[in-house]
């Protein structure tokens, strides 16, 4: 494999190019189409006889039949190392700010820039010494990247055990300088750098074992944490029609979720939304670290007008980066918005390959692809005993807002929690618009099981009564049913709904959720005395107003306690004695 293997273009259809070759090629191998001075990155996705079909990660205009193609022998890979936090990459890991510096306003075709800086120097501290035995994923040393210790690890691709032959002392290194030399039992030497390459479509498996996700990931959204929790290392999906608030929900989660690193994969969605994240995150302070939010965020951005094939790879790029930080014992949250666009990218490619279509023309392998993507989430115990996790939250944009469509259905089969957004809730301005009657979670909440069940129960009861009232009217409803309905509405308004524009209400920590839920549970369990429906309505309206004030007063502040007293006084007035 000395001279590059070459082929020639024989067919061009959209972003699919067919190439004739006469030396061996590899499935999913990266190749470059040589068009004048431009080199266009592509990936082999099917081989038939001596023809390789490739998806091109760029626009294919002006390409000609007979142009030369160079095969690289490598799978589509990303470079993993210090310098990724706070960065904005496209789906192929080109750093977009650097692209802008070189190319100006537009994304120029065929411009590929190294993901990490060659020249930036890092303060390296070794953790191993000569003679130590190491294996793939073991920590050789660390550098300080923003707020984290960024560990330099033995390349994940190596198999077996190795002996450390030499390791550098404390000092300043670039990612291109080797910081250690290790050798295998046969005496073959391997250098270890601060960074390493990894093919995106293969999960990183350098850990001792995968554990069951049982610790809750606190998102500080009451509706999610209390009723439909997500576990660290778990998976969840957010399907919803357009305008129901998927993206806002994900933005809030990326800000408040209690994790170390957030990887945002903006996959085939509006550029405007990414711009908001890009421009505001550096100015927002993470309350837990007192550093800008951007310091713990990596953005992978392949918006809807960027090339479709790169959209397909962008979710893999994102999950690979997430896995890499997991290997350091960090808890990572990957937010993919939206996986439907990713699935559509597969559909477009499948159509070009003229594969036999499945439901709604999605390819037959849609389900297995979605499943294997979500399976990359998980909590793992690393070889050194520490644990790290990748949690995946995927937004789904079902066509017509109909959850019966293939992408939503395939996703529901493999995720641990389902946060279904509904148009009726968002129309009624009830945010977050997660519909509590259709959503579910298989993970355990930190709210007491019995209390949680009561919460679900009153919502269902309330819904039934509303349906009944539509038929028989308010007059035909019994007072006790009416009070249950008011309780359900009260629970929805003061607990499930959260005001994203209120600095206190937008994020509720775990302790406060437990405290307030318990408080509300006791209200739900209480019996009140009302002479008529108007009195009941009035009572709950006032209660609701008091609670709203309570929600926006800081946890355990004077104001918080004062409002709590007022609420208790208000409750006592109507409480049934005994």
């Amino acid at each position: 494999m000395t001279a590059p293997r070459k082929g020639r273009v024989t067919k061009i259809s959209g972003n699919m190019v067919t190439v004739r070759f006469d030396s061996p090629v590899m499935q999913n191998e990266v190749a470059y189409i040589l068009h004048g001075a431009e080199r266009l990155k592509s990936e082999i996705i099917r081989v038939r006889n001596n023809l390789a079909e490739m998806q091109v990660y760029e626009a294919t205009s002006c390409l000609k039949i007979g142009e030369e193609v160079e095969f690289t022998g490598e799978l589509l890979s990303v470079e993993l190392g210090p310098g990724m936090l706070g960065q904005i990459f496209d789906g192929l890991q080109n750093p977009l700010p650097e692209v802008a510096r070189q190319c100006g306003f537009f994304l120029k075709r065929g411009v590929y820039i190294k993901a990490l800086s060659d020249t930036e120097v890092w303060d390296f501290t070794p953790l191993v010494k000569t003679g130590d035995t190491v294996r793939a994923g073991d920590k050789i040393g660390f550098v300080q990247e923003k707020i984290f210790r960024h560990y330099c690890m033995v390349p994940f691709s190596l198999r077996g055990s190795f002996e450390v032959v030499s390791v550098e002392n404390d000092g300043r290194f670039t990612i291109r300088q080797a910081v250690a030399q290790i050798k295998d039992p046969n005496g073959r030497m391997y250098p270890v750098f601060l960074s390493q390459h990894w093919p995106v479509k293969i999960p990183i498996r350098s850990y001792a074992e995968k554990l069951k996700p049982d610790k809750p990931l606190v998102t500080r959204m009451r509706l999610i944490d209390s009723l439909f929790p997500v576990a660290r290392g778990g998976t969840y999906c957010i399907p919803g029609p357009f305008g129901a608030g998927k993206t806002v929900l994900q933005q809030l989660t990326s800000r408040h979720a209690e994790v170390d690193v957030v990887v945002i994969a903006a996959c085939g969605e509006r550029a405007g939304e990414v711009v908001e994240t890009i421009k505001t995150f550096p100015t927002l302070t993470d309350p837990r670290t007192n550093h800008p939010l951007s310091d713990r965020t990596v953005i992978i951005c392949n918006t809807s007008s960027m090339p479709v094939a790169a959209r397909e790879s962008s979710v893999y790029t994102a999950v690979t980066i997430a896995e890499y930080y997991r290997q350091m014992g960090l808890h990572v949250l990957l937010l993919a918005d939206s996986t439907s666009r990713w699935a559509q990218a597969m559909r477009e490619m499948s159509g070009r390959l003229e594969e036999i279509p499945g439901e709604e023309a999605f390819p037959a392998y849609l389900e297995s692809r979605i499943a294997s993507f979500y399976e990359r989430a998980g909590v793992v115990r690393l070889h050194d005993g520490s644990t790290g996790s990748v949690t995946i939250g995927g937004a789904v944009s079902p066509a017509g807002g109909n959850f019966e469509e293939p992408v939503t259905q395939a996703t529901l089969k493999v995720v641990g929690a389902f946060h279904g957004l509904s148009r009726s809730r968002s129309d009624a301005r009830r945010y977050p618009a997660i519909d509590p009657l259709i959503s579910w979670s298989k993970y355990k909440s930190f709210i007491d099981e019995k209390q949680k069940e009561r919460g679900h129960g009153i919502l269902r009861k309330g819904f039934d009564i509303v349906q009944m009232m539509k038929v028989v009217g308010e007059e035909g409803t019994s007072l006790s049913d009416y009070v249950d309905y008011l309780k359900a509405e009260f629970f929805d308004f003061v607990y499930l709904q959260q005001n994203a524009f209120d600095t206190v209400d937008e994020a509720t920590p775990k302790e406060r959720q437990i405290y307030v839920f318990d408080f509300i549970y006791r209200i739900l369990e209480s019996e009140f005395i009302f002479e008529n429906k108007d009195a009941a309505l009035h009572f709950f309206q006032l209660l609701r107003q008091l609670f709203k004030g309570w929600n926006s007063s800081p946890w355990q502040s004077e104001e918080f306690e004062k409002t709590e007293k007022e609420i208790r006084v208000h409750l006592l007035e109507r409480l049934k004695k005994g």
């Binding site: 002006c62 159509g351 066509a399």
Partner: protein, 439 residues
């Protein structure tokens, strides 16, 4: 270089196949027939076979006709000389003026680097209260007008075009009736807006391939102006015709349809156009308003559905008015806090009361007794419909807000509106002034 090819081996729909060599993907060609010369564009290459979509349609093309490849992709002239001109979908003049070849730029250029965009922050005033007050249009926004056939969506676009405070207006017409074309031309001319407008017009009688080019050609010209620092408003009507043209070509090319016959890449195709809306860091902006007629008034139809996922909100035009419920400008929060301090108050209060009015209307229709509060709401609703919602109303934002206060004043006491006292103290109209709407 300018070799002529004569071996046309296949003609299917508006796509012809010719055997040729050294041809680039998406390159332009001329098809020379007895009845004239038409432009054509390469859409697929397979060995020696070159697939061309013929702009003028394939009718009358003979297998012996000549094809000349031009060696460049589709381009369009840009610059000041275009202002006030009217072209067809291929960029040829429709107004008896000269054809233009200045500053040619490629259409369908590369996407904007997201880091070179800025968060939109400038409002575009249109003089239509339902937009300015309730769902403000923001520079760089992409908004469709969801409507059904027969609704006055073209009238709405035309009135926005003549009133919007922008530097340049580009109108892209797709599959319009000839009358509609004349209507747009005359309206722009009457209001003196034609001098800063450029029109690319494809009428229903023109070949379908030209329809496909209209958004790209309009947006390429717009992009060029925006890079020069101009604020450009692009009006596209009707995007449903564009989608149907896509469908037609896709089926001709034997692509596998995904949903109701539309190609699987409908989302990407629409996004590639709508995402051209941009506010450039250190340059101008492009704002896109696009009429989308919903077949059967069904918002889950693939066209409005895919559009809704791409655009930043939508206007629903129904029964001749912009429906306050369902219409949404996702970017309004970016601008409506800094217009006048009562803007958000008026917006929220009036919509809330209008929702109550709709409920009361339902109650009334079911024969329930009307309380005095219901009567107030009914009066309010009527005033709101006549003085705010009607598309005939045309007032600047500040006037519209004042009018809002007057309507509230005519129907309710300050407490009944639920507005903060500090706000009513400042804005509640004086009784003595006696400007009522209930005459």
């Amino acid at each position: 270089m300018q070799k002529l090819y004569t071996n046309i081996i296949q003609i299917v729909g508006d796509v012809i196949t010719v055997e040729a060599e050294n041809v680039g993907n998406t390159e332009m060609a001329q098809v020379i027939t007895r009845r004239g010369t038409s432009l054509a564009q390469v859409i697929r290459l397979d060995g020696k076979k070159v697939f061309l979509q013929v702009f003028a349609g394939s009718r009358g093309i003979s297998t012996g006709d000549k094809v000349k490849f031009l060696g460049h992709p589709m381009r369009v002239a840009t610059g000041a000389s275009l202002l006030g001109r009217i072209f067809n979908g291929s960029g040829l003049p429709l107004d008896n003026g000269p054809a233009l070849y200045d500053n040619l730029v490629k259409i369908g250029g590369p996407p904007v680097n997201p880091v070179k965009r800025i968060i939109p922050n400038k409002m575009i005033r249109t003089g239509i209260p339902m937009i300015d007050v309730f769902n403000s249009l923001v520079e760089s926004q992409k908004l469709p007008v969801f409507s059904i056939a027969g609704e006055p969506y073209n009238e709405l676009l035309a009135s926005i075009a003549t009133q919007a405070e922008v530097d340049i207006i580009i109108l892209g017409g797709m599959g319009l009736k000839y009358d509609d074309y004349l209507f747009f031309r005359d309206t722009l001319e009457e209001h003196g807006a034609l001098s800063h407008s450029i029109v690319f017009m494809h009428t229903a009688a023109d070949p379908v391939v030209e329809c496909l080019l209209v958004p790209d050609i309009s947006l390429a010209v717009a992009e060029n102006y925006a890079l020069e620092g101009k604020r450009v408003l692009v009006l596209l009507t009707d995007m449903s015709n564009f989608c149907d043209a896509l469908k037609e070509i896709a089926i001709t090319m034997q692509q596998i349809p995904s949903n109701r016959g539309y190609p699987g890449d409908l989302y990407s195709q629409l996004a590639a156009r709508y995402e051209k809306a941009v506010d450039f860091d250190t340059a101008g902006s492009i704002t896109i308003l696009a009429a989308t007629t919903m077949p059967g008034d069904d918002v889950t139809h693939p066209i409005p559905d895919n559009t809704g996922y791409i655009t930043e909100g939508q206007f629903y035009l129904k029964n001749g008015v912009i429906e306050p419920f369902g219409s949404l400008s996702r970017l309004k929060q970016q601008v409506n806090a800094k217009t006048r301090d009562d803007h958000r108050t008026i917006m929220d209060t009036m919509i809330q009361l209008f929702a109550d009015y709709r409920e009361t209307q339902e109650k009334q229709a079911m024969g329930f007794q009307m309380s005095s509060w219901d009567m107030k709401l009914l009066k309010y609703g009527k005033l709101f419909e006549d003085n705010m919602m009607s598309l005939r109303v045309n007032v600047p934002l500040e006037k519209a807000l004042d009018r809002g206060w007057d309507i509230l004043h005519d129907c309710f006491s300050p407490e009944e509106t639920g507005i903060k006292k500090s706000m009513t103290d400042k804005y509640w109209p004086d009784n003595n002034e006696n400007k009522t709407y209930s005459g």
